[in-house]
Amino acid sequence: MSKIKYILGLFDDPDEMMNGIDKLKQNNFSVYDVYTPMPIHGIEAKLGVKRSRLPIVAFCCGITGTCTALTLMWYTLSYDWPMNIGGKPNFALPDFVPISFELTVLFCAFGMVSAFFIKNHLFPGRAPRVMELRATTDKFVIAIDANANTNHTHIDELLKEAGATEIKHNDRKYVSYE
């Protein structure tokens, strides 16, 4: 086996890159990952990436917020220290709507964003695992695991055919550790 770990196909155009993925798939090569400077719509279906379940997390967190707010207001104003405020009911539900709403939004937003950060291992100070530095600027990069896909010349041909402007054979996975 050669020392090459990953083959990168760099494209200038997202449509050509999508074409490249199609070509690789038709020839039974597997794509490790794709790095792009902008979201590419429809790429998930092509790569068989499953639908994100983050909206479910968002819903659960939101409901938790609603319950927290209502419980807090019930506990403080009706249970722990009920007060007579102008003879009005202690558990004055209409008055509790604004805060229940705000806490729903707060919990939902923070819960979902935290889940997003945790699932993608994003946190301040994390060493960026970048395979190609220009992938965040103007290059659309297909990364292919060189050990799992052995016919390297064929891969190169396919990428070039699809319109890759540059093909790299990297003997290390991430460049950003240098």
């Binding site: 200038d12 997202p14 449509d15 999508m18 990952d33 790095y35 400077p37 902008m38 979201p39 590419i40 790569l47 990436v49 983050l54 909206p55 939101g62 207001m73 403080t76 104003l77 722990d80 220290w81 007060m83 405020i85 009005k88 004055a92 008055d95 604004p98 805060i99 709403f101 705000e102 806490l103 729903t104 939004v105 707060l106 939902c108 937003a109 923070f110 979902m112 964003v113 997003f116 950060f117 699932k119 993608n120 291992h121 994003l122 946190f123 301040p124 100070g125 994390r126 060493a127 960026p128 695992r129 970048v130 395979m131 530095l133 220009r134 992938a135 965040t136 600027t137 103007d138 950003s176």
Partner: protein
Amino acid sequence: MSSHNESILREPLITGKNITYARITEEVLWPVENKPNKAWWIGFIVAAMGASLWLVAVGYTFWNGIGSWGLNKTVGWAWDITGFVWWVGIGHAGTLISAVLLLFRQNWRNSINRSAEAMTIFAVICAATYVVSHMGRPWLAYWPLPLPNQFGSLWVNFNSPLVWDVFAISTYFSVSLVFWYVGLLPDIATIRDRATGLRRRIYSIMSFGWTGSVKTWQRFEIVSLVLAGVSTPLVLSVHTIVSMDFATSVIPGWHTTIFPPYFVAGAIFSGFAMVQTLLLITRKVLGLENYITMFHIESMNKIIVLTGSIVGVAYLTELFIAWYSGAEYEQYAFLNRISGPYWWAYAIMMTCNVITPQLFWFEKIRTHIGISWILSIIVNIGMWFERFVIIVTSLHRDYLPSSWVMFYPTWVDISIFIGSIGVFFTLFLLFIRVLPSVAMAEVRLLVKTSSEQAKLKLLQEGKLKAEEAEFYKESLGKYDSVEQGAYANV
């Protein structure tokens, strides 16, 4: 697929020839990656002087108490709450642009959302400082939080709109901040991957290790969408609750059910005016004419004329209802507003908010940069006077004529107000130096569909209906960043 041909009838959102993904990065990051120019330094020094004035005035207030303001026993709220509501209102456009326009798939938001959101955050910071300093004893600012009894006296009263406001403003601020920062991650990663040395280290920490892999982008898009979904009602709720600070009281002039929608419309109105004020300068100074085009300016002016008209209808409705209610005190409150000693404030409010924005019905005016800028400043002034009119003229003549007074601001009131503008501009100027002022990742999405060059290609292919092509060419006439000559023989 990432690209399909957009209808030729839609105006381009990016102008200029040979726009590439690399060029967008270069142009947007130019102010971040280079030394600031003279214009920036002049702006920054002036703004920083304002911010210092703010520090002095707020320090003076904290040391001597709010007796140093012009308040008296009749007018207990004046420039402080006027300033607070003014800033919170301004802070509405950013989230509106990034959330509501995202839900409506208004792609023109892509190039203005970043700076508008930054503006929101800084405006809410300015608003929050007013809240803290008007408390009198700012070291007890944690009292509106629901802390156990032993800590203060009792639990907070959750029936009070002032407590709702604490929750609303803090939720709004933190959710806007999160929304803004998540959107920034891919762009910070761009700066990181182009930088070297210490800069790279710093931006690396700030980028959270963003890579731009498929799964990251997929989740990013979902997060943006859901955040937009929850921020849309949030942004409407915030000014609703601010208005309830007034509307749930029994002061004539405040106690009106029209307040929530009226305040929300006013907030969007003033927010877009401030976005316009800032972006018209930013676009010029940073050379972003190709990304913030005449279409963006015109669209914002259309929103200003719409919300300004809603505000105008609300003013007239208030007057009508005051008369129609038959309530003596209510009627007097509004008569006093129009013809009392503060008639001039009411006149300024009416002129700046209702009359002058109507000029935007003329296409010539709404596509004229200089006039748009001046009108946006006028709206800002008018909206400040709106809050002043609502607050001070409702208070200064209460139920007891012997306690009727006027409000005179002291140098501290004035300095805090001018200073808060300084704080706002200091933060904004720092922002455009260290972070990309245009959401690059989102603008890249437009290159292949909504850019002038993509549409020019469609024209050149010549498969379009003649009248549609003609319509498109006519719509380009208003752009200042389009070379009109190129379309003469296409």
